[in-house]
């Protein structure tokens, strides 16, 4: 079955530290990949997405992610985090060829940034 794995449940960083959150997806052909952020009490907000082309994707708020097909990975990175990045981050995948369009989400990674 198609699945998405996020290995880190909770990450705690100090401001200005670099961030990398892991995401792996199961094999299943052509895949679209997404990172969503959910700030406390708010809805899911799209950070970035990968459909095709350049595997290094730049998103909002200084985030980027790299699609590595050989590793089935789509890790999220940010060179220098801020306290305002404290949120939960969800990786999601969509297999457009076979599915009816439903996103498969990972369990999420909670990021806490200490000021």
């Amino acid at each position: 079955a198609q699945s998405v794995s996020q290995h880190n449940h909770h990450v705690i960083l100090s401001e200005a530290a670099s961030l990398e959150l892991g995401c792996n997806y199961s094999y299943g052909g052509t895949v679209n990949l997404f990172w969503y952020v959910q700030y406390p009490g708010q809805h899911l907000q799209l950070l970035l997405k990968y459909f095709s082309g350049d595997p290094l994707v730049k998103g909002i708020k200084g985030f980027e992610a790299e699609f590595i097909k050989s590793k089935f990975s789509f890790n999220l990175r940010k060179p220098s985090v801020q306290w305002s990045d404290t949120a939960e981050y969800f990786c999601a995948a969509l297999w457009p060829g076979g599915s009816q369009g439903n996103l498969i989400f990972g369990k999420g990674t909670k990021l806490s940034v200490k000021p």
């Binding site: 969503y36 459909f51 969509l94």
Partner: protein, 117 residues
Amino acid sequence: EPEVTQTPSHQVTQMGQEVILRCVPISNHLYFYWYRQILGQKVEFLVSFYNNEISEKSEIFDDQFSVERPDGSNFTLKIRSTKLEDSAMYFCASSEVRQDIGFYGYTFGSGTRLTVV
């Protein structure tokens, strides 16, 4: 930027009562979805809807749930007889489909927090 609108933002209901959660998808989108997020857990797919019928549903979407597009703009999720375990954040989403890239423009609403007491 176009938005998916959900109402209400928070609903409290007694166990056994019926609730209807409402969504207004983006106007040119043809695919509509409901997802659920129980507190502390991951976002789970419930159902997708296209051309006035359910196109896919998960195991969670049992006979207690139904969806409807009652008019040209609204997309509703009904829970017939709520249970305590239905307490969750319910997200509506919509997307379009393009021949070259498949599902596109996936957008989530802000969610309805359902609390069953």
